[in-house]
């Protein structure tokens, strides 16, 4: 429960935390870690399809970011800078794998499907359909190229704007928009092949 005193404490911005960390305030960086580690981890999971590797990448992301604090020039938002490090580390890990695997035994997304204990919002039939859709989405996302998958995850899953995703990926907003459209198009085809056809579409194009 949040106490009234805590409620009135002004929350330091990412930039303020970075500035404090630069001055040697490790606690400030710890706050930054706690603020962003979940999103970084989820991003890494979608890119790596492995919980253990995603945890490693998440740790490495913040360790590298801390080591490079002096090189953060402030032109971008701290979280897009951290995301970029995470994407680079994830891609490096993907490329270091000897074989490209479709799925991993410790894929947290699959685990969630098996042990999903969230309160059921609808009927059992609906929950079952959602799980099937989740599985189809996972397969569809994993079939995308690294380029499309990374862009889709940043924009459609993590909720970054095209401009923010462009900052992370170092490409123009137009390219991000094109990739998102292309990824969703391919995802739709893949979902259609798995039985989620146009009858289930939300609204009209």
């Amino acid at each position: 429960m949040v106490t009234p005193a805590r409620q009135h404490l002004p929350e330091r911005t990412d930039r303020e935390l970075i500035a404090a960390a630069r001055e040697g305030d490790a606690q400030a960086f710890g706050l930054l870690v706690r603020r962003h580690q979940r999103r970084v981890y989820r991003l890494a999971v979608h890119l790596l399809k492995s919980g253990a590797e995603a945890e490693d990448v998440t740790q490495d992301t913040f360790v590298r970011a801390y080591g490079a604090l002096d090189r953060f020039d402030g032109r971008s938002e701290p979280f897009t800078w951290i995301y970029r490090i995470c994407v680079n580390l994830s891609l490096n890990m993907l490329r270091s794998r000897k074989t490209r695997r479709a799925s991993s035994p410790d894929d947290p997304r699959i685990e969630a499907l098996l042990i999903d204990n969230r309160p059921a919002a609808g009927s059992p039939a609906r929950n079952s359909a959602d799980k099937q859709l989740s599985r189809a989405l996972i397969e569809g996302i994993d079939e995308l190229s690294d380029t499309l998958r990374t862009t889709l995850v940043l924009v459609c899953i993590d909720g970054l704007s095209h401009a923010e995703a462009g900052e992370v990926l170092g490409c123009p907003e137009g390219t991000v928009a094109w990739r998102v459209h292309e990824a969703r198009k391919k995802l739709r085809v893949m979902l259609s092949e798995r039985g989620f056809d146009d009858d289930d579409l939300e609204g009209k194009e």
Partner: protein, 402 residues
């Protein structure tokens, strides 16, 4: 988040936004990260992850990068626009300001100046702009070598030179423009070069015509604006400047400069010789070479010693970083770490130390707790960094027992 560009089956977007995923104990992970923060990270390892991710473009991906890049770095406008802009900046109250505004407007609208404007520009000693589309090379260089024959013919020829044919006028304009480019380059060098004492030499070297017979007919607008008022007055009668008028103008330039502080500016002082030396041979086709040189020398002798174009701030050093790099700090601490570790011989607990470096790179204070704190402080105080710009820089390190 940007709106979805293509509809997915019902419920898919909701799932994407809140993807079910088993998660680790983030608090434990955060503590693990904090424990690793003192790990040395090589510069190469940082370079590897700080750049834009290397993602291969999709096969049909439109190449927007180059389009965006070209859009973000627009082609420079014609040199006349730049000249007019400089003219406006430097001499708002000059007689030529109105003309410069017109020039700027014309070039801004990419319209062809009318015959009257061409005539006025010529009378003021500036080359007339043209709205004729130019090849890229010409546009980039800023030198416009093509003027519509019609415009030239329509313009009254202000030059007192005996040749009044269009071809001769065209040749003169081309030569003038070349000299203008030289003068602008020299002015630019004067403004940019930090060492002001070398500037006049560079300027005069750049501006000195090698062949007075082929010397320019026009001075650039920027140089023109820096010319003393008397020189402009001397030119006003016939649109050309004679060496005699220049000599008078040079003598008159001191009071003029005293009135106008801008004329004493580094750029003004540096650019001022250009119209004189460049326009001294304006009538050079009809005047003896020695006379032209004498006029140029007189003008140069009358010039006050130019002040430095840009005086660097005292004590500033371009090579000095704002703060030391993490690599430099790691190296500095690494050099004294073994001595500090020796203080913890026989102990099991690590000690956290905070070292504060002053801007000269020396350690100004060390804080370390525990029974071996004083020993660790003494060991770490011998660390040394290269000087940096900030007042101080603090670094935290953990000393573990050997």
């Amino acid at each position: 988040m940007s709106g979805p560009s293509l509809k997915l089956p019902r419920g898919a977007d909701e799932l994407l936004r809140d993807f079910p995923m088993s998660e680790p104990d983030f608090e434990a992970q955060a503590k693990a990260i904090e424990a690793r923060l003192q790990t040395k990270v090589g510069v190469a390892a940082l370079d590897d992850v700080l750049g834009a991710p290397e993602l291969a473009p999709e096969p049909e991906e439109p190449a927007l990068s180059s389009a965006v890049q070209s859009a973000s770095t627009p082609l420079p406008k014609s040199n006349f626009a730049e000249m007019a802009r400089k003219s406006l900046q430097r001499k708002e109250d000059d007689d030529s300001a109105a003309l410069a505004k017109e020039l700027l407007a014309a070039t801004g609208q990419a319209r062809r100046p009318d015959a009257e404007m061409v005539a006025r520009v010529r009378a003021a000693g500036k080359p007339a702009p043209t709205a004729t589309p130019l090849p890229n090379g010409e546009r980039a260089s800023g030198v416009v070598a093509r003027i519509e024959a019609g415009a030239v013919a329509a313009a009254p020829v202000a030059s007192p030179a005996p040749t009044s044919a269009a071809a001769s006028s065209k040749r003169g304009v081309v030569i003038g423009l070349l000299a203008a480019a030289l003068a602008v380059a020299a002015a630019f060098a004067l403004v940019v070069r930090p060492d002001a004492r070398q500037a006049p030499a560079a300027s005069s070297a750049a501006l000195e015509p090698r062949d007075p017979g082929a010397s320019p007919a026009h001075a650039p607008a920027a140089a023109d604006n820096a010319r003393p008022a008397s020189a402009a007055a001397a030119q006003a009668d016939d649109g050309a400047i004679s060496p005699e008028a220049l000599a008078v103008a040079a003598n008159d330039s001191k009071p003029s400069e005293a009135k106008n502080g801008a004329a004493k500016s580094p750029s003004g002082g540096a650019v001022a010789p250009s119209p004189k030396s460049a326009s001294a041979p304006l009538n050079g086709a009809a005047k003896p070479e020695a006379e032209a040189h004498a006029a140029a020398s007189a003008a140069a002798a009358a010039e006050p010693p130019p002040e430095p174009a840009m005086k660097p701030a005292e004590g500033s050093n371009d090579n000095m970083p704002l703060s030391p790099s993490s690599g430099a700090v790691s190296t500095a601490l690494g050099a004294v770490r073994s001595n500090a570790q020796a203080c913890l011989a026989g102990q099991t607990e690590s000690v956290k130390a905070v070292i504060i470096f002053s801007s000269d790179g020396r350690v100004s204070s060390v804080s370390a707790s525990g029974p071996s704190g004083a020993c660790i402080q003494a060991a770490l105080s011998k660390a040394h960094l290269s000087p940096f710009a900030k007042d101080h820089f603090s670094a935290t390190t953990t000393i573990r027992p050997p």
